[in-house]
């Protein structure tokens, strides 16, 4: 965590967070319940945030094509639910299925991104946007048989919201749940998250991982030292996509529903802004930054809902969230190149 310093967006976010906690205290909300929930929210969204790191480190920018990985993970989830797998076997089966699917999608996505070097972000945005309607065909036409997944009458295809209640709802959340007084610590969930962090940490210590970082920092130099730039970037994109698939599996088991169709579109901007809040500049990113950012952003999200409901108009919560999210991304885009990092 060399040269880790607090930057303007983080200051604003911290002030905002303190004000919110103060407000929650004044409004006599149960802070312990909120804390418990914040831990779950951290892991629920945290894996998606972690999934951005490989691409950021490879210099491929913020992954605006996150829906590619998310839809891959959703396919894995749907197949697991189709065979009515329950409990841990269901959850791990969906992980196991989503890894190869995301790997394939990530490979294709990486090949495209290698062609548009320097413009990954805008190309990724529109690849993400166009994957959604393509996958809508899949959700509508794929021959799933589990009646609970399909439209009840008349309609064709999967429901937009499939309940995981009878399958593997909260399997990770409830695993090794420790209760101390009112505080609940979901140890299993945190351990799973920790494992992924550890894997990423070790990965960036390995030869391939170091090559990824080198490519992101100075492409011309790494090329001279004999690194296969295209291959390395491809690996980073594939890893990002696979992690996104795992991320959506974790998210869905916490949330209790598989959300299909246009829903992936609402997930990736918060993830990107989380990693930026943590202190990433849109380039080399540390795991710590992703975790911190995910925690800060999710806690703010968590606190705004009840507070806005009490003192403001209900719709304002959602608007404020998007406002925060987009301002942070815009800030990062504007100030990224001003920090002496030339590319």
């Amino acid at each position: 965590m060399k040269n880790f310093s607090i930057k303007p967006p983080q200051v604003i976010i911290l002030i905002f967070l303190i004000v919110l906690i103060g407000l929650a205290y004044v409004l006599q909300m149960d802070l312990i319940v909120l804390f418990n929930e914040s831990l779950i929210k951290l892991v629920m969204n945290g894996v998606l945030v972690l999934s951005l790191i490989p691409m950021l480190n490879a210099g491929a920018g913020m992954n605006f094509g996150l829906p590619v990985g998310i839809t891959g993970g959703l396919v894995g989830l749907c197949i697991a639910v189709n065979f009515r797998l329950t409990g841990f076997s269901g959850f791990f089966m969906s992980l196991l299925l989503s890894v190869p699917i995301c790997g394939m999608l990530g490979w294709l996505y990486g090949l495209i991104l290698n062609r548009v070097k320097g413009r990954e972000e805008i190309a990724g945005t529109f690849i993400g946007f166009s994957v959604i309607p393509l996958m809508n065909y899949f959700w509508t036409l794929a021959p799933f048989q589990n009646r609970q997944m399909l439209y009840p009458i008349g309609g064709q295809g999967l429901r937009p919201k499939i309940s995981l209640e009878p399958y593997f709802y909260n399997v990770l959340d409830q695993f090794c749940l420790i209760k101390i007084g009112g505080i609940e610590i979901p140890l299993g969930l945190l351990a799973f998250y920790g494992l992924i962090c550890l894997f990423l940490y070790l990965f960036f210590r390995s030869k391939v991982g170091r090559a990824i970082i080198a490519t992101g920092e100075n492409e011309a130099f790494s090329k001279l030292s004999g690194i296969d730039i295209a291959g390395i970037r491809l690996i980073a994109v594939i890893l990002s996509t696979i992690l996104a698939g795992i991320g959506i599996c974790v998210y869905s088991q916490s949330y209790g529903f598989i959300q299909l169709y246009d829903e992936p579109l609402s997930m990736y901007f918060p993830a990107i802004s989380a990693v930026l809040i943590g202190g990433s500049t849109g380039r080399r990113t540390y795991i710590f930054e992703a975790v911190l950012g995910a925690y800060l952003l999710q806690t703010i999200y968590l606190l705004t809902v009840p507070i806005a409901n009490q003192i403001l108009i209900p719709e304002v919560t959602e608007i404020l969230r998007t406002l925060i999210t987009y301002s942070i991304i815009l800030y990062a885009l504007l100030y990224r190149d001003k920090r002496g990092i030339v590319h």
Partner: protein, 351 residues
């Protein structure tokens, strides 16, 4: 070698994309079973509705700034102007004139700010304009959903939700509806041709064409072909880029006003959605690229893109017995066209 050159000429993006669109829309039209008259009337309506919005994209492309997704901000400033004027209950010609004046003023100010921002991020304009569009949408919703009735006093109670805060989802514009569309309406055996509005769109096209051939236009082209070269020639590129964005935003605001008066119903929170993406896709469908766009690309593109747009739900219904599939297809076409154009262009740039 010569064969390859000829093949490249033949598969030039300027020809291949419109031809693909032509085939797709012809096929979808055949499947949909809609009558030619109906489709033609619809496409003409879309042509006058979206024409100016699509035209507003051309100058930034020529200036080398890529597709200006921030035209959605121009569209929103037009809507904001309209809401302010309706809330102050200015009726009649005075109302229309003040809407036009206010929306131009708002879009000039916002265009100036966005132009400044874009000068910081040369080479990454497109992604920044997209994020600006999303951000502006949040601000817009905040102002009209939470600000109206609380901070901003509203005289006209009709447009406010019953709780006293926030504008209704839909505001009726029947007093403005089709005021100018019905001028010189030609009717030939079921075909309705709003001659005046077509002329207006063409006039805007002509204005942009003229502008690109004045000194200003030559400077814009020079800036588009390379900033350094233009700098050497003594052009203030940064100022020029701000002017270009302001012009594009003002055109977008006017375009949105035409769009709204044609629809006659003003969906406060959704009318501007997709104005950017659909306009960009229409421009690209006509054969434009991210580096070059001409008036004819815009005019042809609107026809091709919207023909496909109108017939595809019905085609989906007839092919798969599911209209939703047709709609997925058309949103795929809209986003896919832009993604395709980006991939093709940047690849060329890198070679």
């Amino acid at each position: 070698m010569r064969l390859r050159q000829r093949a490249e000429q033949l598969f030039n993006i300027e020809h291949i994309v419109p031809v693909v669109f032509l085939f797709l829309s012809f096929f979808a039209w055949q499947v949909s079973g809609l009558t030619g008259t109906f489709v033609f009337n619809q496409v003409l309506t879309r042509f006058i509705r979206d024409g100016i919005l699509v035209l507003s994209l051309i100058i930034p492309v020529v200036a080398g700034m890529g597709l200006n997704f921030a035209i959605i901000v121009g569209a929103m400033s037009a809507q904001a102007a309209l809401l302010f004027v309706i809330s102050c209950q200015v009726a009649g010609l005075g109302g229309i004139l003040s809407v036009i004046f206010l929306s131009i003023a708002l879009s000039v100010v916002l265009g100036f700010a966005i132009g400044h921002v874009l000068n910081r991020v040369k080479g990454k304009e497109m992604i920044v304009t997209i994020i600006i569009g999303f951000l502006a949408n949040s601000v817009y919703q905040l102002v009209f959903l939470a600000g109206f009735g609380t901070i901003i006093p509203v005289a006209n109670k009709e447009i406010i939700l019953s709780r006293g805060i926030g504008v209704r989802n839909a505001v009726d514009l029947s007093m403005y509806r089709n005021t100018i569309d019905k001028f010189w309406l030609l009717k030939i055996e079921g075909l309705e041709i709003p001659l005046f509005m077509i002329l207006v769109v063409l006039l805007f096209g002509g204005m942009i064409y003229y502008l690109l051939h004045t000194r200003f236009g030559r400077e814009v082209k020079a800036a588009g072909s390379g900033s350094e070269k233009a700098e050497v020639a003594g052009i203030n590129v940064n100022l020029l880029r701000i002017k270009v964005i302001i012009l594009s935003m003002v055109l977008a605001a006017l375009g949105q006003l035409v769009y709204l008066q044609n629809i006659g119903m003003f969906d406060v929170y959704t009318a501007h959605m997709n104005a950017d993406v659909f306009s960009c896709a229409a421009l690209l469908a006509g054969g434009a690229s991210i580096k070059s766009a001409k008036i004819r690309h815009a005019l042809i593109g609107i026809f091709l893109f919207h023909t496909l747009f109108i017939v595809s739900p019905q085609a989906g219904q007839n092919l798969f017995h599911n209209a939703a599939l047709g709609e997925y297809f058309r949103s795929f076409v809209a986003y896919g066209t832009i993604a395709f154009a980006l991939i093709i262009n940047v690849k060329r740039e890198n070679m």
